[in-house]
């Protein structure tokens, strides 16, 4: 274990920065990133982009959406973002939420940090903040923080897609936080403490725990399986594909004259997708593979080859029927059928106990980072919700879209350029 921990971080911040620097250096030197996640992993908090986007996907996630409290003005919102930024900078390096660690401070006061991560190392924690459409113009049309004119044109509530069954209490929010880590307790600790810091200024609207990353965002990661038992996200972008990431993930300079503050940022699409796993489990293997368009064991396209081979959509099987069903999940999601757009996917499996009928409340918490949802998510989802064979077993029950500001420099707060 490394010397990094949330214990007595006084003076240890330097060590955290050094370790993070070393990791960054090894990647810059062209060596492959470490294959196995290590508890000692600490990703730099400050940089051109926020962490938790091209960072190799950690195994656990705690996602949270917040609404800014009534009566909070622009100045108070800036205060919250400043406090969140400081806490995030500390926690991602293995430190505490507050300046004092969880076991120190005035004996007559509650500790600044809640303590459950006290003995735990950084665990690859990243914290990513996003701004929802309602932060700019609220439900009654009010410009609460004087930023309405700087709302990016692409930042609008996602449209209703075919068969959406969205629960308002699992959707949207003025602000969002995506906390990812190798250790669930570290991710939960982050969201819990950020929520606590926000009390009186922003209230937790909904949150989601995820496990078993269903996406790979590094070439060194094997493709993980979703709860249907299939490898998921084979075609997703990897952090190493720098030119592709620049094109499909980051908001480029000049993208939106009203929203220069977002340049170098991204958009976060979240969809809570309930999976009817009980009926799926009764589907014959033939149907399962046909729906997905890949073999279950290897993840190879049904047109042949191995997992990372491109599917051959023209190849005809028995009776002249394409061997990749035209409505299979892979066919419809493939960049060839979506004007060449790619997404950086970062989804997780979830199980929220069970429903009243004794069925697991399970599914996929889909997260994608894209340069523009109008080109990179909405057209594809419109087609998929209408035609994807898999929709028989899916129901979208939660949804949200947030603009993710670029990275933070030391001494700044996240999204500072929006308020400049």
């Amino acid at each position: 274990m490394s010397g990094l921990s949330r214990r007595g971080l006084f003076g240890a911040a330097g060590a955290g920065t050094a370790a993070a620097g070393a990791l960054a250096l090894s990647m810059a030197a062209g060596k492959p990133a470490e294959k196995e996640p290590h508890a000692s992993d600490a990703y730099p908090y400050y940089g051109a982009h926020q962490g938790g986007i091209v960072t190799p996907a950690q195994d656990r996630m705690h996602f949270a959406a917040f609404d800014v409290a009534d009566g909070i003005d622009r100045e108070a919102l800036i205060g919250l973002l400043t406090d969140w930024t400081d806490a995030a900078a500390r926690m991602t390096q293995g430190g505490s939420a507050g300046e004092l660690d969880a076991m120190s401070g005035n004996y007559d006061s509650p500790p600044e940090d809640t303590g459950e991560a006290y003995d735990l190392p950084p665990s690859g924690l990243t914290i990513t903040f996003g701004f929802g459409p309602s932060l700019f113009v609220d439900g009654s049309g009010a410009d609460r923080f004087g930023i309405a004119t700087r709302r990016p044109a692409a930042l609008e509530r996602l449209p209703h897609f075919v068969a959406d069954n969205l629960n308002p209490s699992l959707s949207d929010g003025d602000l969002c936080i995506q906390a990812c880590a190798h250790d669930p307790q570290v991710a939960v600790h982050a969201v819990r403490n950020l929520t606590r810091i926000a009390f009186g200024r922003a209230v937790l609207k909904w949150s989601q725990l995820g496990f078993g990353r269903t996406s790979s965002t590094s070439v060194d990661q094997v493709t993980a399986r979703n709860l249907f038992g299939f490898k998921d996200g084979t075609m997703g972008l990897r952090g190493e594909q720098k030119a592709m990431i620049d094109e499909h993930v980051w908001v480029p300079d000049g993208a939106d004259p009203a929203a220069e503050w977002l340049e170098g940022g991204s958009y976060l699409v979240a969809r809570k997708i309930k999976m009817q796993i009980e009926t799926w489990d009764r589907a014959p293997m033939r149907e399962q593979e046909n729906i997905v368009g890949r073999t279950k064991r290897e993840g190879a396209p049904l047109s042949g080859g191995v997992e990372f081979d491109q599917p051959d959509f023209a190849l005809e099987g028995r009776g002249g029927v394409p061997i990749m069903d035209v409505d299979s999940h892979v066919t419809l999601a493939h960049p060839d059928h979506n004007d060449g757009v790619h997404m950086l996917r970062r989804g997780y499996n979830y199980v929220d106990g069970n429903d009243d009928l004794g069925r697991l409340s399970a599914g996929l918490f889909f997260i994608a980072f894209v340069t523009d949802p109008r080109t990179h998510y909405i057209p594809m989802q419109s087609r998929m919700s209408r035609n994807d064979l898999m929709m028989e077993y899916l129901q979208h029950i939660g949804s949200g879209l947030w603009a993710v500001p670029p990275g933070v420099a030391e001494g700044e707060f996240v999204g500072q350029a929006l308020f400049a």
């Binding site: 009980e278 014959p284 064991r297 042949g304 080859g305 061997i323 009243d356 009928l357």
Partner: protein, 384 residues
């Protein structure tokens, strides 16, 4: 670990599999054969096996789509087959084979009579059930099921026309009384009707199934107009709107009629159709989502069960020979589910969904699971 420990033959050179311990597919198992199929060869790892459940692990090492067959002694009868194996892929063919003389055949490019080899199944003394008349039993099941589908669609046509007339004449009480009764015929053959991807959304879509710009038509559009109580701020349809939707429903039903006249069904279609009907119950009816406005979900529930039961009954002679224990399990589960449904009967029909307690719904859902699980195994059992 759920992950299969069987290392794929093909990928051996590409994938460094992590240490596997109990590799059950190793050569020690006389009933598991590997088949290397290429564009020019068909190598089966063994030319004989003891009778029982056999597995052929077929790997397509060629560049064309391949198929693998086990043929009877006459070289014509297909005992079992696996089709559409893409280049580089491996697929298992599992079947139950009695002692006898067979041929194996790979068919690269899906043409010709294939690259054949002799294959012998020796008598292991294990009972694998009688063979030979399966094809007749399947043909009989097809005949029965196709005629059931035609008959249900016949009745659907008649009742839809009557319903449409009542709707247009604004005889709403009579239309409401007829709604669930007419839909029963749709629900009994729902998986067949749904197989027509153009008709299903026009005839049976719920409002949430649509997106902005889509036209809301069909049964549920009229349902909402007849039962607007749960619709907030709802504007009733005009006479002209009603006529348009009602006439379109009648026309679509006529199209369904035409398309179902000469349909045929394989054993797998029928078996998976039965399972599919129970899936419909599990995802739409038991949750009260299907008939959101009229709350007549139990009518649909019963109709889905009726259709599944007819499908199973047609396949029973075959299933009883292949797996009588599974057949018995299905029989018992149908009876339990029916007994539960009967508790909610009211006159000619059922109580509305809102009259069910949480406990009633849970019991129904449990009974659906109890039936669905063995029903999902029926296709595999009759095809082995």
């Amino acid at each position: 670990m759920i992950r299969s420990l069987v290392a794929p033959v093909l990928a051996a050179g590409l994938l460094l599999t992590t240490a596997c311990t109990d590799n059950t597919a190793a050569s020690g198992d006389a009933r598991t054969m590997s088949v290397k199929a290429s564009d020019t060869a068909c190598e089966v790892s063994s030319v004989e096996a003891p009778s029982g459940t056999l597995t052929f692990k077929v790997t397509n090492e060629g560049s064309k789509i391949n198929e693998f067959y086990l043929l009877g002694e006459d070289g014509l009868r297909i005992v079992a087959e696996v089709e559409n194996i893409g280049p580089g892929l491996t697929r298992d063919l599992v079947l139950s084979a009695p002692a006898g003389t067979y041929f194996t055949a790979c068919k690269p490019g899906m043409v010709g009579e294939g690259i054949r080899g002799d294959f012998t199944v020796t008598d292991s003394g294990e009972d694998v059930g009688p063979k030979g008349e399966d094809a007749e039993l399947v043909a009989e099941a097809d005949k029965q099921y196709a005629s059931y589908v035609r008959d249900q669609v016949d009745q659907l046509v008649t009742k839809t026309e009557q319903f449409a007339t009542l709707v247009k004449e604004r005889k709403d009480d009579e239309a409401r009384a007829m709604y669930a009764d007419a839909r029963v015929h749709w629900e009994r053959v729902e998986t067949v009707a749904e197989s027509f991807g153009d008709l299903d959304p026009q005839m049976d879509a719920r409002e949430a199934d649509l997106e902005a710009g889509d036209e809301f038509t069909g049964w549920h559009r009229l349902e909402k107009d007849l039962w607007p109580a749960r619709a907030e701020g709802y504007t009733a349809m005009t006479d002209a709107e009603r006529a348009t939707v009602a006439d379109k429903l009648v026309a679509d039903t006529a199209t369904l009629y035409d398309r179902t006249r000469d349909m045929t069904f394989t054993a797998s279609d029928i078996a998976n159709g039965a399972k599919g009907l129970l899936d419909e119950v599990a995802t739409g009816k038991v949750t009260g989502e299907e008939e959101y406005w009229s709350r007549t979900d139990l009518w649909d529930f019963q109709a889905n069960v009726d259709g599944a039961k007819v499908a199973w009954e047609g396949l029973r002679p075959l299933l009883q020979r292949k797996d009588s224990a599974l057949d018995g399990q299905i029989e018992k589960a149908f009876a339990s589910l029916q007994a539960l449904l009967d508790k909610h009967r009211d006159g000619e029909g059922f109580v509305t969904y809102d009259k069910l307690s949480e406990d009633d719904i849970k019991q129904l859902a449990d009974a659906v699971n109890t039936l669905s699980e063995p029903l999902s195994k029926m296709a595999g059992a009759i095809l082995s």
